[in-house]
Subunit: 333 residues, 2 copies
């Protein structure tokens, strides 16, 4: 048998609304009575019934995370950081492991106030669905993609990220770079870098990977066996990087001796690889703190203004890139 505020009220000799106010720190209760009530509540192990609470005021102070499959822990670390920031501001975070449509229903039924939706490739329909149904509209923060009008948005400047990776590799003397990944902003940054730093070009220097596909030996064969072999790779994600490394292992190719490698997305694991990998990607901390600024500011400020920001990326230099600067003479020979 659960103990309710009515039980406490009876025990304290007051009405139950008084108990409610006392426990919530609301005005209209004398300090003596408040203390007495709090003591009784604690003694009776009172646990508020949030269902009842939420039935009347529709606040839950909680955030739901709709999160892509955690490949390579990037999203895990980001989720963790968001949870910490949220806790600091008195907000609860719950997360669903289900796909967006299902997750949406669950969050709706479980009363989260706001959702943070990292729009992974292929999830745009769910975002549209939200808008159309006006489900969490105005209480949704889109991240990573799917930017739209009248919706909070945090983007990632992937183009500059890859561009900076190209710049770095060019600085190290690399002239033949290959990008492995999807056709996306990242590719744009890649080609822009190629043009700007007047690097070599070959049609094979872009290895397209369709979402869901893997880096196959076939797709890499010509590149690795033919002429005009690259000296460095920029790889779209950790998953592809693993596949590439597997291929390299099979062919006894060493990093960074034979090829240099920069991986997109920085996660702690990259540092612990057999050869610590140089990465480029958004800062998890910045992503998380910006997200919570937006989520909390919205109540604070007067007018509903839609946030629309873009997080820059950082280059993490480790051990998977070899400098060619001392060998330039050799290279040009």
């Amino acid at each position: 048998m659960k103990v309710t505020i009515k039980d406490i009220a009876r025990e304290a000799g007051v009405s139950h609304p008084t108990v409610s106010k006392a426990l919530n720190g609301a005005p209209g209760v004398s300090e003596d009575i408040r203390k007495k009530i709090v003591a009784i509540a604690s003694r009776m192990n009172y646990v508020p019934n949030l269902a009842a609470k939420r039935l009347v005021d529709r606040k839950t102070n909680s955030i739901g995370l709709i999160w892509p499959k955690i490949e390579g822990l990037f999203f895990y670390h980001l989720g963790l950081q968001i949870q910490k920031e949220a806790a600091n501001r008195g907000l609860d975070v719950i997360m669903s492991l289900a796909e967006p449509p299902e997750a949406l229903r669950i969050f709706n039924e479980h009363f989260v106030d706001q959702i943070v939706f990292w729009c992974a490739p292929g999830w745009q329909p769910s975002v549209d669905f939200i808008k159309q149904r006006e489900l969490f509209h105005g209480n949704m923060l889109l991240m990573g993609g799917g930017r739209m009008e009248q919706t909070h948005y945090i983007g990632v400047d992937r183009k500059s990220a890859v561009y900076e990776a190209v710049r770095y590799l060019a600085d190290q003397g690399h002239r033949k770079l290959t990008f492995i990944g999807n056709r996306s902003d990242k590719l744009t940054g890649f080609t822009q870098g190629l043009l700007e730093f007047r690097l070599d070009y070959h049609e094979r220097y872009f290895v397209p990977i369709e979402p869901g596909e893997a880096v196959t030996e076939d797709s890499m064969k010509e590149l690795l066996d033919g002429d005009n072999r690259p000296t460095a790779f920029i790889v779209d994600s950790q998953t592809y990087a693993f596949e590439l490394l597997k291929l390299f292992r099979k062919r006894k190719i060493r990093i960074p001796h034979d090829y240099s490698l920069v991986v997109y997305d920085d996660i702690p694991e990259m540092e612990r690889m057999d050869v610590p990998l140089t990465t480029v990607g958004p800062s998890i901390d910045r992503l998380a703190s910006s997200a919570l600024d937006i989520l909390t500011d919205r109540d604070g400020r007067g007018e509903k203004k839609w946030a629309d920001i873009e997080i820059g990326c950082e280059l993490h230099l480790r051990k998977s890139v070899k400098t060619l600067r001392d060998e330039l003479g050799v290279e040009n020979a």
Copy 2:
């Protein structure tokens, strides 16, 4: 403005309890009216208010996951599998990224019916707290540790797991094994294997790691530089394995050429390592399906019987163990 069953009732020209019964498939509603109501509800984008629902009947059909930090994705994959199994049985899963006491409060407030609590080292106090407060008592499934009376429990036979690893290494001709990890069931399995297969013993063949600590060069120095060097390692977790591999890299030690290696806990990533690692550990699928059997059976069967089972472990043979059988003569020389 939310649409409620009263809105639907008005639209359908019936009373709101009738709508409730219709939508829940309860008896007492003619098939014609039921269809009409369902159609209207769908047209009006009706979403049931779980708070109200919860207020009257205390069921939500949802499960909360209290989960250790996802090191090495084992818990991520297990969570994912549990979520899938739950979805198949019409149950929702939500997960918290917070620590147990906080997670507990959140789940309590967010109406989860049952919790699955993987009792990581150091989390026993939270389990005791649950029992004491009778919070989710009877609706909690403990996993991995913290077994107790009158509580559903799924354990992992870690002792046999490591024992089997020892047996396998012995089969391959290894006689000098080292276990790196905590003092635990796993160590028991290790020593049992050592005794049973009459393997060599040296005090250095157990490298204790306190929780939270790392595999340091100091702790390994004597072992790697002294006499009686082992030929194989069994490592307690992926984390330690990474640290060990890092150390090996530094010393230019190759796997499995110089040392063989078996890692506890099987996760997909182990297969994708530079050298695919041989592992031993519980089956994620079995863990998940057993969990849901328990969670759902409890309603089904008549008497409340407390589940108390133990999941066996599997050996996944990959590339990190070298056989010494052909070299036995050499070894004995």
